[in-house]
C-alpha cells in the first residue's frame, strides 16, 4: 500500500496537472473539448502500484490520470494537450494519446477501447506472458455492446485483462439510475468474471480490489472486473453548465469525497504538521509547474505534419 506521503503526492500531482489544463482551456490555449479527472485521482494513484511496464492500458476520453500512472511522460502529454509538437505531434490531442513505449493509449469513443485492450491482452497471452492489459471504462460504457462483447471474448479466450469501471454516476448529464439496470459488478458475473466493487476514495478498499484482481488476472490469465465508485468534480467537459446535478449533492461530495482532502487527512493522521505539508505542496507545485513550462517551451507542430501519416508508406 502507498504510504500516506506517496498517496498525497501522487494525488496532488494529478490535481495540479488537471487544474493547470483547466486553466489552459479557459485562456484558449487549448481549443478542443476537455475532460478532467478531478475527483477520480485516488483510483489511478492506487492502480499505479500494481501496473508493470510490460502491462498495457487502454483508457477513455478522460485519460490523463491513467496516462500518468502508466508511465507516459507528463511533459510530452502536456505538450500534446497544449496543441504543441507533443506526444503525437499534435494529431491526437487530449482524447487520443498514444505512447507505444509505455503501452498506453486511449480513445474518445465510449466503450470502444475495451476490444482494443483485448488485442493487447491477446499479444500478452501469446508472446509476452505475465503482462496484462487494463481496459478502463466509465459506468456509461457499461451499456455499450462493445464492452459486453469484449467481456465474453476475454473470458472465452482466457485473456489476461482487467476491466476497470470508474463509476462516477453520470453519463454526461444522465444519472445512472435512468440509464443503467442492475448492479454494475454483477455484469461480470454473467460471463464468469470475478468482480470487486469498492469506494474510489477509500485507499484500503481500492488496494484490496486492485491487489486481488491484478493477482487473479496475472496468475490465471483470465479477465477480472473492478468497479470503483467516484464523484466527478467538474462538469463532463470544461464549459459544461453542470446544472443537472443538485447543488447539495455536489457540496456533499466536495466535502466528503475529495481524494486530495482524504489523502491530506491521512497525512495529518500520520503525524505530519501543517508546515511540513505546506513545504511538500510547494515541492510538488514546482514539479508540476516545471512540466507546464517545459511543455510550453516546445514548438507548435510543423504545418506539414497535418498531411503526414495517413499511412506508413504513402
Amino acid at each position: 500500500m502507498l504510504t500516506p506521503r506517496q498517496l498525497y503526492e501522487t494525488v496532488l500531482r494529478m490535481r495540479l496537472l488537471e487544474e493547470g489544463v483547466g486553466v489552459a482551456v479557459q485562456t484558449g490555449e487549448i481549443h478542443g473539448e476537455m475532460h478532467l479527472g478531478i475527483g477520480q485521482e485516488m483510483v489511478s494513484a492506487v492502480m499505479g502500484q500494481y501496473l508493470q511496464p510490460r502491462d498495457a492500458l487502454v483508457s477513455t476520453h478522460r485519460p490523463h490520470l491513467h496516462a500518468l500512472v502508466k508511465g507516459v511522460d507528463p511533459v510530452q502529454m502536456l505538450a500534446e494537450l497544449l496543441e504543441r509538437d507533443g506526444l503525437n505531434h499534435g494529431k491526437g490531442g487530449h482524447m487520443h494519446l498514444f505512447d507505444p513505449v509505455a503501452s498506453f493509449m486511449c480513445t474518445g469513443i465510449v466503450g470502444s477501447g475495451a476490444p482494443i485492450a483485448a488485442g493487447y491482452a491477446l499479444h500478452r497471452k501469446l508472446v509476452a506472458q505475465g503482462g496484462l492489459t487494463v481496459a478502463v471504462v466509465g459506468e456509461g460504457a457499461m451499456n455499450q455492446g462493445a464492452v459486453f462483447e469484449t467481456m465474453n471474448l476475454a473470458a472465452v479466450l482466457s485473456l489476461p485483462m482487467v476491466f476497470l469501471c470508474e463509476n462516477n454516476d453520470y453519463g454526461i448529464s444522465v444519472p445512472r439510475r435512468l440509464s443503467t439496470a442492475g448492479q454494475l459488478v454483477e455484469r461480470g458475473a454473467g460471463f464468469g468474471i470475478n468482480g470487486w466493487e469498492c469506494d474510489g476514495v477509500d485507499q484500503r478498499a481500492l488496494d484490496e480490489a486492485f491487489s486481488a484482481a491484478f493477482a487473479d488476472t496475472r496468475k490465471h490469465s483470465r479477465p477480472t472486473l473492478i468497479v470503483a465508485h467516484v464523484y466527478r468534480f467538474r462538469g463532463h467537459y470544461e464549459g459544461d453548465t453542470d446544472h443537472y446535478r443538485p447543488a447539495e449533492e455536489k457540496e456533499t461530495a466536495f466535502r466528503d469525497r475529495d481524494p486530495l482532502l482524504v489523502a491530506r487527512r491521512d497525512l495529518v493522521g500520520a503525524g505530519w504538521s501543517d508546515e511540513r505539508i505546506v513545504a511538500l505542496d510547494g515541492e510538488i507545485g514546482r514539479e508540476v509547474s516545471d512540466w507546464f513550462e517545459a511543455a510550453r517551451s516546445l514548438p507548435f507542430p510543423d504545418p506539414s505534419e497535418a498531411r503526414r501519416g495517413t499511412f506508413v508508406d504513402v
Binding site: F98, P100, S103, Y120, L122, V127, G309
Partner: protein, 337 residues
C-alpha cells in the same frame, strides 16, 4: 498444402487464399488468423481451410459472433506487435463493428503521429450471389471513403495471391475484398485466369497500380473485382460487333492509381466505368473525376453501377447488378452517344 496435379482442375480462389495464408504464416510467426468459423470449418468459403490443423488453435481460432470485439482485438493485437488477419464473413456485417473500422483501425496511426502501426488485414467476402441486400453488397467505396484504410479488390487469381501477400506484408490496415464468385469458381472456368502455376512461390503484387487486362481502341472498360471478369466476356461479345474494347483493372481503390487511370483512358475515345458497388458517391464517380481532372474533355465517359439495393430473385438481380451482357449494352450505348 499442395493438391495433387490431377486435382488441380478443381482448384478455386478459396484454395489460393488458403495457400497464401499457409505460406505467409510459415514465413511470419506473428501472423494470427481469427474470425467466425475460420477454425475447424476453415471458413464458410473454405479460404482458411487446413490452417488450424497446421498451426494449432492459438494462431488460428474461431471467435464468437462479436465483430466489434474481435475486430477491435485485431487492432490492439496489431498495435502491440502481432500481425492479425481477421475475416468478416460477409462484408455486409461490417455495420455491426463500424466504429472499430471508422474510428480506430483507420485513425490510430494518424492520430498517434505515426507512433503506432496497425498492420492488420481484414479479409471479407463481397458481391452478388442471389442473397439480397444484407448478403450481396460490395461496399468497397464505404471503406475507401475513410482516410487510413487501404482497400484492395483482386479481380484475377494472380492478384488474389499477389495482392493478398502485399496486404499481409503491409504495415497499414488493409481491407481485402474477396469476391464470392472468385472464391467459389474453378479457376480453369474463369473468363480471365492468370494463375499459371498456383503452387509457385507467390510474390507481392504492386499496390496502387492499375493493370491493363486487354487492349482496345474503341472503348476502355474500367472495372474492379468480378466486374473485370464480366468485362472480359463483354469485350468478346463486343468484338463480334467489331467493337474493340480494352479493359483496365483498378485492383487497388486505396491507394488509387489516378495517373494510371488517366493514361489508360487516353487509349480510346470512350471509357465505361463499371462497378458492382453503389453508384452514388462511389468508385465510378471517383474514377471519372480522376480522369476528368487530368485530361479534361479528352474522353467521353459513362458509368454503370448499382442504383438500388440488391434484390433476392434472379430476374430482379439481373436488372440491377452489372453483367457481361449489360456491360456490352452500355458500351454500345456510349459509343452511339
Amino acid at each position: 498444402m499442395c493438391e495433387s496435379a490431377g486435382a488441380s482442375d478443381r482448384r478455386t480462389g478459396a484454395h489460393l487464399v488458403a495457400a497464401v495464408l499457409m505460406e505467409e504464416m510459415r514465413r511470419d510467426e506473428g501472423i494470427v488468423v481469427f474470425g467466425e468459423d475460420v477454425g475447424a470449418l476453415g471458413g464458410v468459403f473454405g479460404a482458411t481451410r487446413r490452417l488450424q490443423r497446421e498451426f494449432g488453435d492459438t494462431r488460428v481460432f474461431d471467435t464468437p459472433i462479436s465483430e466489434t470485439a474481435f475486430v477491435g482485438m485485431a487492432i490492439g493485437a496489431a498495435q502491440a506487435g502481432l500481425r492479425p488477419i481477421v475475416e468478416i464473413m460477409f462484408v455486409d456485417f461490417i455495420g455491426v463493428c463500424f466504429d472499430q473500422v471508422l474510428n480506430q483501425m483507420a485513425k490510430n496511426h494518424y492520430m498517434s503521429g505515426g507512433r503506432v502501426r496497425v498492420p492488420l488485414v481484414m479479409r471479407t467476402a463481397v458481391g452478388s450471389i442471389g442473397s439480397a441486400a444484407q448478403h450481396s453488397q460490395v461496399l468497397s467505396a464505404t471503406f475507401a471513403h475513410i482516410p487510413g484504410i487501404k482497400v484492395l479488390f483482386p479481380a484475377t487469381p494472380g492478384d488474389l495471391r499477389g495482392l493478398l501477400v502485399a496486404a499481409i506484408r503491409s504495415d497499414d490496415p488493409v481491407v481485402f475484398l474477396e469476391h464470392k464468385w472468385l472464391l467459389k469458381s474453378r479457376l480453369v472456368e474463369l473468363p480471365f485466369n492468370d494463375a499459371d502455376s498456383p503452387d509457385s512461390p507467390v510474390e507481392p503484387a504492386a499496390v496502387g497500380k492499375v493493370r491493363r487486362i486487354r487492349d482496345g481502341s474503341d472503348v476502355t472498360i474500367i472495372a474492379s473485382g468480378w466486374m473485370v471478369q464480366q468485362a472480359v466476356v463483354a469485350a468478346r461479345e463486343l468484338e463480334t460487333a467489331d467493337i474493340s474494347a480494352g479493359i483496365v483493372d483498378i485492383r487497388s481503390l486505396v491507394p488509387l492509381d489516378r495517373e494510371g487511370l488517366a493514361s489508360e483512358a487516353l487509349r480510346a475515345p470512350c471509357a465505361l466505368i463499371v462497378d458492382e458497388d453503389f453508384a452514388g458517391f462511389g468508385t465510378t464517380g471517383e474514377v471519372m473525376a480522376s480522369i476528368a481532372e487530368r485530361i479534361p474533355g479528352e474522353v467521353r465517359m459513362a458509368r454503370h453501377a448499382l442504383d438500388v439495393s440488391q434484390p433476392a430473385a434472379l430476374v430482379l438481380e439481373e436488372q440491377v447488378v452489372p453483367s457481361a451482357r449489360s456491360i456490352a449494352l452500355q458500351a454500345k450505348r456510349l459509343l452511339r452517344a
